[in-house]
Symmetry: C2
Subunit: 363 residues, 2 copies
């Protein structure tokens, strides 16, 4: 340890203060004192530090109506630190530039031609990024991601693609690569309404079906859950992944329907065939989910992407087939819901992942 350990302590506290502000939003010094368990004077010193470094801004004297001297309000300066999040999907690449405190500073989107490979996608990301001054850059990719390598992505058709290297070559800067579903789970937990669940499973329906898990309050690093390739019908339909009876293969009829919305809408309107397709797909989803719930024991399951539409149209089928595949004790505490952030979840979560690293590196 090159630095004296006592300075390390200061850095930790400074980072904890910034983290608190970033995650919980503007707070008074009194609230910060309570939250961090430090002394008033210590909070004061830390605030002075962060104010001088431009990370926070203090607005004095907002009267609350209670007795006593009003406490100073402290808030993040969004521009002080920014993270660029990039979402790579089958048909588009999106970018969000997010400032400290979670403020959205800019967005951009370009179409991606189907079947694009890693370098092509990275090139688009580089174009979107241009010269935005982001301290961290994070990419969210649907599929099995491990240490920057996209081991398998049904949606993008990539196998063992070292996408981090592609990005770093295209942009000349350092990247983090996260699984889209895990990123979305992080987003829902940090900026959505899933604060309370320490064990959160986010299901993502895109061109493939994946899932991301937050276990014991922290995202599973390394790799995501290939929900689409859970075998729901041993010896069934041959899947493009090579296995037989995968969820994706068995749901094929649903996925191939003109559009998901059209099918679910038709089902709502009473179209018997559509209703049948939706019901069957919901049942298959429930079965696959059953295996994952048994293995990962979440408290809460969010249906993202087009799984949201499917779930809303076939909740009963999902629940009943889930009931046939998981123990009642596991189901008892399970909440099935739809995400609060909609299609913004992955970008928001990816940015949050960047901020976590950024603030963590300060200490």
């Amino acid at each position: 340890m090159a630095r004296p350990a006592t300075e390390e302590l200061r850095r930790r506290n400074r980072s904890a203060l910034l983290d608190q502000l970033h995650r919980r939003g503007p707070q008074t010094r009194a609230e910060l004192t309570e939250a961090l368990g430090l002394n008033r004077s210590t909070i004061g010193a830390l605030a002075t530090d962060l104010s001088e470094s431009g990370h926070i801004q203090e607005t004095t004297g907002r009267s609350t109506g209670a007795a006593g001297r009003p406490s100073t309000l402290v808030e993040c300066v969004p521009e002080a630190e920014t993270v660029a999040a990039v979402e790579v999907r089958a048909d588009r690449v999106r970018l969000a530039l997010v400032g400290l405190g979670g403020t959205l500073l800019a967005r951009a989107e370009v179409p991606l031609e189907p079947g694009a490979d890693g370098p092509e996608a990275a090139e688009l990301a580089a174009r979107l990024l241009a010269d935005t001054p982001a301290a961290e850059t994070v990419a969210a990719v649907p599929g099995l991601v491990d240490a920057g390598v996209v081991a398998q992505s049904t949606e993008l058709g990539w196998v063992d693609r070292d996408f981090r290297t592609d990005l770093e070559r295209a942009t000349g800067r350092s990247w983090r690569v996260a699984d889209l579903a895990t990123a979305a789970a992080v987003g829902e937990r940090s900026r959505g309404d899933a604060h309370r669940s320490p064990n959160l499973l986010y299901l993502h329906g895109g061109r493939g079906v994946t899932a991301g898990m937050i276990a014991d309050g922290r995202p599973r690093r390394g790799s995501s859950i290939m929900l689409g390739h859970v075998v729901v019908n041993p010896g069934g339909q041959k899947c493009r992944c090579g296995l037989h009876g995968c969820l994706e293969a068995e749901m094929g009829t649903f996925e191939q329907s003109a559009t998901i919305e059209a099918t679910t809408t038709a089902a709502w309107m009473g179209d018997t065939a559509a209703r049948e397709v939706v019901h069957r797909s919901g049942g298959l989803l429930g079965r696959a989910l059953g295996s994952v719930v048994t293995a990962a024991t979440p408290d809460e399951v969010l249906f993202g992407g087009w799984l949201r539409e499917l779930y809303l149209s076939s909740a009963a089928a999902v629940r009943s087939s889930l009931a046939e595949a998981t123990l009642p004790q596991l189901r008892a505490r399970l909440r099935l819901r739809t995400p609060a952030l909609g299609s913004e979840g992955p970008l928001i979560g990816a940015a949050e992942t960047g901020f976590e690293a950024l603030i963590g590196e300060m200490r």
Copy 2:
């Protein structure tokens, strides 16, 4: 924070030092200085502290053959802190008293009558514990455990049993209740030869089949994996849990065979019927494992309990059915092995869980 933060720092370092010694065994002061990244003088001060409190012992002057003054060897004093680990199984209750550094100080075992309930098992644990001076007491129970409550245990036949309360009533002291398979995973990682796997899945075959997971280097708190109740054959055999086609139900023929050893031995000897049973069971196990591997993405899988025998007799069947149920990218990095600690894993791991808490509380 009642304590001054600077004393907190000292406590952290003291705890880190003790943790290092507990986990890595006796080390010289020079090695500790390197490992903890602190100054020689700081290590000296910490060692003095811990020596005076009786936690460590220093043996001076062991010559290593290298130049320079030989470094003082530091080692834990086993009796300084002890943890009692209790393993509750269908037919017995076992206890191990483990000292700091992992030294086994005492063992005991009593038979448990089949069908015993929580209070009865707790009473036996209390008798075994007697007046052993353990700072922490941890129970390992096969099944789905959450916050001291055994939500479901096929082996013990318990459902939503508040076993922690049973134990605390019987012994008048505080208990931790861990899932047996998770405890075993912890044991294999800390005292076995699975140091390198940050994502470890331990499969336990007892009267039921469960699994425990270490994800990103830390045990999944809360609950374990009910591997025996993964549905491997939708609409198949009715299981005692109420579901249909669970692994346990489908493997029934194997489990009910006079003894597992007899069947696997017969299979080795060439008994065609036995070979058939073993092969089929291995295939079912592989299929269930496939779902869990997809959802939990381990690097390493250990076959514990009688699954060890099954795996050793049917590795090909397990691997081939696993290959039909998981993506090649997931299988590529997967190592299938048998545990190094044998049937001691759960007790050792439970004790280790206690020590983790004990050392963690010091800071």
